[in-house]
Structures are given as C-alpha cells and as structure tokens.
Symmetry: C2
Subunit: 242 residues, 2 copies
DNA sequence: AAGTGGTCTAGACCACGTC
DNA sequence: ACGTGGTCTAGACCACTTT
C-alpha cells in the first residue's frame, strides 16, 4: 500500500519540469533544436508519448516550437511572431510599419518600495531603469519606462541599447540570458503630462493608454516592470478574448 | 493510389468539426453533459483516443469543459469563470465587487455601412442596438453601445433586458440560442464627450478606454459589435500576455 | 461496484524536410 | 532513404464521482 503524494503530479508534468530546468540552465540555447522525442524518452526513461505530452504543453506556452520534419526548437524573441505577442499595437489602417526603438536614458539605482514589491525584491537592491521611445515610421507612439533587476543586467547601459538592432527582449535574451516567458498588463486611460506630451509630440492632456507590465522569466520569476504610454490616435491595442 | 486531398485534415479534426456542428445544432444544451468519450468513439467509428484529442481542443477553446469522474459538459456563460473571460476589468484594489448591468435603451434599426462591414451583413439588414451601463457597486464604470444582428435576436427589447438577472451573454445564450465563442478587442484612449461624461458621472474630457469588440459565435460568424467606454480611475483592464 | 475522464505504454503508419 | 514530428489505435491502469 503506497502513500499517496499530497501533491500528485503525472509523469509528463515531471518531464515537463525537467525540460524547463534544462532550458533554464541553458542546456539548449534559444533558436537551437532540442533532442528528438525518442532521445528524450530514452534519457528520461519514459515512453515517447509521455515526452510528447510534456513537449505539447511547452509548445502551447510558447517555450518550444515544433516543426514537423525538422525537430523541436527553443523559442526565441528574434522570431518576428514573438514581437506581436508582447507588443499588441497595430496601425489603424492595418498597414504594417516597422517599429524602431530609440533609447533615451539608462540609469542604475536602487529599488524603491513600489518596484521592490512588484519585482519581489528587497528595498535598496540594485536596479536598472531604461527610458525609450518607440517609433512607427517617423512617428513616436510609445514612451516606455522600464525597471529591471540590476543583478541580472550587469553591463546594460545606453551604449549597449543604442547599438542593438532588434527588440529589447531579443537583447535581454541573447546578451543577458534572460528570457521573458509571460507578462501581465494593466491598462488604463490617462491624460498626457507635460513631459510625455512633449516626447510624443502631442498636446498636453491628450488621452493616452497607460500600460503597466510585469514580465516573468522561467519559474514565474518577475524580472521586468514596465510602464508604457501609448498614443492611440493612429494605432490600436489589439486583444483576443479566446 | 489515392488522390491526396489538397486540404488534408486529420481524423480528430474532422471529429472536432462534427462535434462543433452538433453543438451548433443544439444537440446538447449549454451546461449539459455530452456523451462519454467511448460513446462518441462508437458513434463516429474511431478510437477513444481520437475523440479525446478532438475534445481536448474544444476544451482548450472553452467550448467544452471536462470534469474528471463526471463527464464533459457544454460550456455556458452562466459559469462565473466565463464572466472574466469577456470583461477583463478588475478593481484597482483587487477587491471583487459584483457588477450590475443597467439597460438604458434598446432600439431596432437597419445596418449602416460600418456595422454591416464589421458584422458581414448587407446594408439595410435589420439590427438591434442596445445601450447599457455597467456599475460596480454604486459607481458607473462602463458605458456600452451594442449592435446585434437583428434576425438572431427577435423579441429582444428593453423589458427583456431589464428583467434579466445575469450577464448579457448569458441572456443571449439561453434566450436566443446565440453563444459567443471568441471576440477581438481594439483598445484606444479617448476623451469623454459631454454625453458619456454625464452618464459616467465624470468631467468632460476625462480620459476613457474605448474598447471596440467584435464577438463571434460558432463558425467564426460575427454577431455582435460593441463599443465600451471604460472609466479607469478605480478599475483596470487586465490582460495576460502568454 | 460501475462509470467517467486522466495517464501511460507500445507499435504502426503518415507527412514533412533533408541528405 | 532516413529522421523528425503528427496521427491513430488498442489496451492497461489510475483518479475522481456517483450509486
């Protein structure tokens, strides 16, 4: 008679956790292929079908990407599909303009009360703050203020940001080994203050979206706190209610 | 030598489509249990595992709900979990207040150019327009203007709306047999005009979220076009980026 | 005890991509 | 031709709910 574990978890979920551990440890880099299902089945001592179910869940959560005939790959923020998962902004007209990130400021400091609460840090721990502007074509559309756990982003500065071609998450992933997995956004409507209005080239008190985001990496660890001001005269925040 | 169908679709997806058809036809009502996996396997002449995969997908899309030991049930908007899928508004404080729907107006008319385009109708086809206010506690928070395909909602009027306890989608589902499956929202920040400001009890030009929604029923048929004005001083629109 | 969904296995075959 | 993921099957057993 076996004692039931109080927190029973099926085999495929244990395999899933092992895979997440391996991903977190960097055993396979973003963009690389992981071993085939059969190899993983042998490695973990389970059937191929059980590995399959674990991989299925990770693929559904966008941590892995399956490609029939080729293999299963570690997801990467370089992938253009990943862009729109984390920036749900499209043009009113539906036309697709490329966005350009313009870093404005990058300063290091210590966590205040609010930041430490949101990022599960102690007050006074090192932090990095980034301000940047996002342009669609010539027009400034998003003003972001980004707070990051300092210990994870040593060496991040304005120069690094300015010389990087690509998305921020792409940079974080390849330069600092921090992969954003999921995020939560809180959206409000606010009036532009003098400073934001100036940067976004609109009149003071123009209504803006305030998008507050907390991003998490493996193990649901919060690593980024971000507040974006979105100008929505020519763009829209798109959301699917599935 | 068989000719390959150009639009190959695996067995479980065909089963899935058959299940959707049955749901659409109302073979099983919202809240009811559908036949067991084994029964369905016999009925469709496939293995239980194939039925399982079809049901898995429908459960992932919230059309069915699995309950171990009990059976698989047709999803219903009466379920409180369904509420927050389609109204992603929570209090700033995190406290959960119940929301009350106050119908203001219900008029019938004919589709204009914009409405007909969004709902894939012909200009001039019958429509119903509903205006309603959503209150959290005593406070008005959302002003909705809702356009529905008239032919699907015969008998919908202000009296029906006022006498209904529960969500709109709950009413649509049980009274008119129209189940909303998924929706797309476009979010902007705008300034309250005189009328909206008055109804929401705020000053003119107060920033509001403009949430434009198109809801779809089975077969991705658009049946509702809705524009909500959200007051976000004490509430937030919550979104998960998975 | 019986019925439901949930897990796990093993094996066969298909579709896709590469060599 | 071969290796990959994708589908389908059949059967065993587990966990949960109801009778």
């Amino acid at each position: 008679m076996a004692i039931e574990s109080p927190t029973f978890s099926p085999l495929y979920r244990q395999i899933k956790d092992l895979l997440i551990q391996a991903l977190q440890a960097g055993e396979w880099q973003p963009g690389e292929a992981i071993p085939s299902e059969n190899e993983l089945a042998v490695r973990f001592g389970v059937s191929q079908g059980t590995v399959r179910k674990a991989v299925d869940e990770l693929a559904a959560e966008h941590m892995l990407i399956r490609r029939q005939g080729k293999g299963t790959f570690v997801a990467t923020h370089d992938d253009p599909r990943s862009f729109f998962r984390f920036l749900r902004l499209v043009s009113n007209t539906g036309s697709v303009e490329p966005s350009i990130s313009v870093p404005l400021e990058c300063v290091r400091g210590r966590a205040g009360q609010e930041a430490s609460r949101v990022l599960s840090m102690e007050v006074g721990e090192p932090m990095v703050m980034v301000r940047r502007l996002l342009k669609f074509g010539d027009k400034p559309v998003v003003l972001d203020e980004i707070y990051l756990r300092g210990e994870l982003f040593v060496g991040l500065n304005l120069e690094v940001l300015q010389s990087w071609e690509g998305s921020l998450y792409s940079l974080f992933e390849s330069r600092f080994g921090v992969r954003m997995i999921r995020a939560t956004e809180k959206i409000r409507a606010i009036a532009a203050d003098r400073n934001s209005a100036e940067v976004l080239c609109v009149a003071e008190n123009t209504p803006l979206l305030s998008v507050e985001r907390v991003s998490h990496t493996y193990g649901d660890k919060p690593v980024e706190w971000r507040r974006g001001l979105y100008l929505t005269t020519e763009h829209v925040y798109l959301n699917e209610l599935g």
